[in-house]
Symmetry: C2
């Protein structure tokens, strides 16, 4: 039996529960965007880590070193945002092929520093070593939040409105442009840019975490069709998604017509959107949504509703139920 | 210019100082075994991370999966020990070639769990992804210690006695046995085992950290000829090392005669000993050394003395000064 037969989550399930007895009261381990470590009666540290490997997560021929440095930190800050936390510190390990030009590394570190500075997150340590052929990058980030503002995947409740903080599918469309070697016109370049330059929703995450009525939060890395299931499983709930109101950018909409892309599939399962996926108590939704618009000058997009049931998503086009074939992916499948 | 031209430390120096202005008062970033993060008026978190790449740090044909899992955590716990801290949490990222047998991964995770349990350090999170061809492992560990028991490389003072917590060079000798494909008799196997199964000196580190008179501490990963220089640079001091009293195991001593190895070179620059390197105030040394022997049933080995001067080591054989050629290595040279 090989890893590809059991998948990433199957592998994690083989050992995760062995640590339950070692985990201290008030702490939380594997299973959310970040681990939760109690540091006082009122505050938590939250920690996340992400590994990026050349030719699996990025192609050096496509992404610039500056963008790669930015993205390596951004995908971790996105996990911190998903807890409602403030990022505090980062740690960077790099495995570097011997013939890597110093200019590439300098530019990578400049992209990393650019985002570090934006959110005042100092790089506090790490490891630098050689790698036989592929560039390897591991980032870990520590954040901090009040205990009563720490938002978990398990907090969704029936009748919550499910929302996202921005359009879905641009990043997946950008990946398509690269993989299918489509013409690099302005619009396609913008989609590729959305894939290479995710903006972590730190400010939105902090703001949402402080609103009474905001329940579960997570970030969208694999696509809502896959990510929402984690919320449903952790909360013991089901969901109904309205595909007709999934937020889609003008750019993606236009290119979907040109190339005959399936908009719903890209929006639901394209992956790497790094927007926040949030569930909000039904009777608080209108007020929070209006205040969000004022605070950020952009809308919070409702996409469906949490229901009673067992971890499954039902998909609707207006009132008609549909059965999409593609429902996200795991890294090993 | 390529990375091999400037080396690992040269690369780190190009960006490390850019973060100085972002680092909060009381915290400490790049430059010690761990970063130091203040979590209250009296306590610090300390964090370390290490990246291990197949064919750079280990050969799958030589180390068992169980040993590799143990070692991946052990080298990080050793950094925690070097600060005088108690390890609290670990995080594990693995990049896995697609055809890796699940049995290998299970055994790897068992070795990791074995050491986690020994020191009650739960695995709290991480990342699992595929890798094109090499197994990639990144571990991060969080520890905790009182502020007045946090030991830095910068704390060495003139006339401190320099000590180590165990014999030096066994691990380097074990590596030699593998690389030179020497006969696998009992003694050589023991040396190889010392390379594959480092024991982090957590208990020794905690104990030493609590003794008044213990100053600088770090762990020995590259060999004292290289590691001691970090203490000297951070403390603005020099050192005199007595090569005639470097602690050498019976096994290494015996095989050095058989294979005509240079004992001093192996002990000073073999690397991966993962013993602690400690400097102790001269007038407190005798008492601490005697109490250490009682507490751990093994001696603390004195190897030299801190002196005034500029970051350099002078080497002596009894009263005669010597000039060893080999003085450690950096990963890129």
């Amino acid at each position: 039996m090989q890893l590809k037969d059991i998948g990433e989550f199957g592998f994690i399930q083989r050992f995760a529960t062995k640590y339950d007895s070692l985990i201290k009261q008030g702490d939380m381990g594997i299973g959310d965007d970040c681990a939760v470590l109690s540091i006082s009666d009122t505050e938590n540290h939250v920690i996340t880590t992400d590994l990026l490997v050349e030719d699996v997560h990025f192609l050096k021929s496509e992404i610039s070193a500056f963008e790669l440095g930015h993205k390596s930190l951004a995908v971790n800050l996105s996990d911190i945002a998903a807890m409602g936390a403030q990022p505090l510190y980062s740690f960077l390990s790099v495995g570097i092929p011997k013939n890597t030009p110093v200019e590439f590394l300098d530019s990578f570190m400049e992209g990393y520093h650019h985002l570090s500075e934006k959110y005042s997150v100092p790089l506090m340590g790490g490891d630098t070593t050689k790698s036989p052929d592929k560039l390897v990058i591991n980032v870990a980030v520590v954040g901090r939040c009040k205990k009563d503002e720490t938002h978990l995947r398990s907090m969704a409740e029936a009748n919550d409105i499910i929302c996202v903080t921005g359009p879905l599918g641009d990043s997946g469309a950008g990946l398509k442009v690269m993989l299918e070697q489509l013409e690099r016109n302005d619009i396609n370049n913008q989609l590729v840019k959305r894939h290479h330059w995710p903006e972590p929703r730190i400010d939105e995450g902090r703001w949402l975490a402080q609103q009474k009525g905001v329940h579960a939060m997570m970030d969208i890395s694999d696509g809502i069709s896959s990510d929402l299931k984690h919320i449903l499983k952790a909360s013991g709930k089901a969901a109904a998604i309205q595909t007709d109101i999934l937020p889609i950018s003008l750019e993606m909409n236009k290119q979907a017509s040109v190339y005959n892309w399936n908009r719903i599939e890209l929006a639901a399962a394209g992956g790497e959107d790094y927007e926040l996926l949030v569930t909000i108590q039904g009777d608080k939704y209108d007020a929070i949504s209006q205040q969000f618009l004022k605070a950020f000058n952009k809308p919070l997009h409702p996409i469906g509703r949490i229901t009673e049931g067992e971890s499954s998503i039902r998909w609707f086009n207006e009132s008609e139920e549909i059965h999409p074939d593609k429902i996200g992916f795991e890294h090993f499948k």
